[in-house]
Symmetry: none
Subunit: 218 residues, 4 copies
DNA sequence: AATGAATGAGATTTCATTCAT
DNA sequence: AATGAATGAAATCTCATTCAT
């Protein structure tokens, strides 16, 4: 808030944010390790190498930790997806492809944490739930914009671009949700390529099909 | 099973299956009501208007109840989807459409129960989990067959029909998973129409596009 | 009570006693089978092939069943031990031996039921407990009398005949209590012989040792 | 274990072992108080003046508590019996006497806890049961050795020394098992004297009877 | 006389949260 | 700032007992 900070306060805040990170990482690690989303505060403390009590200094409750883990993943989207889009250059179709790939890769790297959103109902309160939903929707925005650009440039056919964007998010999540099924035949790269081809085939305007031939064959 | 049943035994069995149904319905109702997939045995007993102990006469454990609720939904797929396909006539593309519609409608009628599959990891044991996965995969089969027929007849382009089938299942589930999002702009019929159009646009062979114009405009 | 009974009443009583026997046998069977003394009323009903409700027509409570099973074993002592003594002829030392053998054999035939006495504390009320203790003490009486006779005839040395009698009862019980230990080296016949030899060696008057040589070498 | 301990860790361990002792004592106290070997976790918590949850910090399960109580008694044997033997000097017969006395006195001091072994079947798992049996058998060893020494020196007659040792253990347990009977006529000292006299009369070699006259008259 | 469905209290166990140190 | 012992409510499951049929 204030631009000039008491150095002690700054140090404290730095330590605090470091602690938060340490705890969040431990939580993510624990989830990937146990494969279960049922993580007790005691187990989290043990994994993070701190005491239970300390967790409550940084997070008000278990729900807060859960919320933070989820937010953490969502934040990763906010970082990675725009970066991937920027890297993809000006072509909106390739930007869509890059965005979807980035989504999938983030999810692949935090599979169990990503699934946490699908359990919120129980643990989290209405307010937190609402917050997550807003963040998730915001997360689709770069994708939606790339799609809109493609439509504006005539490279994509104009049809339900909102729905399409959300479908792509869902298919990215599906890599975590139905990993047990997809992993039988695909690895993450194959998955991205196949799903992208499938989705784009219905979207790319006929006169541009040749140009995106590399994307359209899964 | 046997042709001649002791009437008492028959009556008892009828009562027993009625009880199971009552409990399963209560479980489903409770989920829809609380919006939560976490149902305690106490709460279930209260909702069903019976005692805790009685549940254990019909289901060996909480896992059994959960498994039964899930199986119940999956069984509904097994009934409704083939029926819808049969009603749709011989055209494989229209059969795909009918199958997807049936999926979505079953899920719409049991939204929270349908989500139970996405929590299995915690509650259910490995065996039960495996069982559910098998059932789910089996559930996609009619859809996969209709797609294969469409490809064989040249009405659909041959591309990853397995993946397509599973994607359609996922999009049906998405109606429950992301209901809070989709319901802002779509009702169940609109959702089915839009998703179907989107998926089919990438699948229908060019020379048949005109024939399925009604399906292709979401 | 009344000497002349209504035939219906007599028939009913006969049926009732038959039922009791059926239930008691089932209880004993169940205990030997599961090896555990924790027998639920449901399990007992199943084993006996009757309904739970019916047990309560013949026994007021679970404690009553337990008490009856215990009494049943004790009654068997009351029958078998005097019979064995009678068969053993006039010699009091041999009568002692016969009594101990009978004790051990009854216990061997109902090992787990015999152990029930050692659990009474929990389940049974004070009154029932008292009743069992009295019966158990009464059960030692034939043995005590045979010992007393032996002392009176000068064949046994006079020393703590009460304690000796109870010790013999205990050693018989020990066959059930510590069966896991004794069965490593002895069968029931060997056990009886060895224990008897050990006990009698301290009891038989020196001038009669030769006469009972067969009993004194375990 | 390690020579230099972190004082905090050492203090914590001390506190922890103090808690264990407190809980074990409470368990023993509860058993003596209620006269019952069945102790619920709630009751144990109440008796110890702690919460239920805390018990689970020190013992993994109810079985663990039970096992610990039993082990506690058995450990007392391991301490007291060899000590008593050592105090008794070189004479093996007097060492046998001292060992038996020590057994009986330990049992007298923890009567109900000592009986716990006779309930193991129900509560404890197979492994724990096995463990207890081994410990019990190990417990007889000092007695067995003293007997063997006596035989080797020709002071005791060679006959079933294994069985004799176990019988003496049983007679010690009998003080708890049949306390209600023996207490009518004997106190613990009288019991020890009488039982010892009885057992030794059959064991002491004729030429040494005079030497042990004090032990042989109960 | 007989059934067995139904009850509900009670048992064990887990775990989010607090608080004295 | 940090600890971790302690709490106690809640969850699952069992089983003696009752009662309508």
């Amino acid at each position: 808030m204030s631009e000039i900070l008491d150095p002690d306060v700054a140090a404290r805040e730095a330590r605090a944010s470091q602690r938060s990170r340490q705890l969040l990482d431990a939580a993510a690690r624990l989830m990937e390790k146990t494969g279960s989303e049922a993580v007790s505060m005691q187990a989290l403390a043990a994994e993070a190498g701190v005491s239970v009590g300390l967790i409550y200094r940084y997070f008000g409750s278990k729900d807060d930790v859960l919320l933070a883990v989820i937010t953490d993943v969502l934040t990763q989207f906010e970082v990675e997806v725009p970066a991937a889009i920027a890297d993809a250059g000006d072509d909106p179709v390739r930007r869509v492809g890059a965005a979807f790939g980035a989504y999938c890769r983030v999810i692949d790297s935090r599979r169990h944490a990503a699934l946490l959103t699908y359990r919120e109902s129980n643990a989290l309160g209405h307010e937190a739930r609402q917050r997550i939903k807003e963040l998730e929707v915001a997360t689709v925005d770069p994708l939606r914009r790339a799609l809109a650009d493609g439509i504006a440039e005539g490279r994509l056919v104009a049809q339900h671009s909102d729905l399409v964007a959300y479908n792509l998010l869902l298919l990215a999540h599906a890599w975590a949700l139905k990993h047990w099924y997809f992993e039988r035949t695909l690895d993450i790269d194959g998955y991205i390529r196949a799903q992208l081809a499938l989705s784009l085939r219905g979207l790319v305007a006929p006169e541009f099909v040749a140009e995106y031939a590399d994307l359209l064959v899964g």
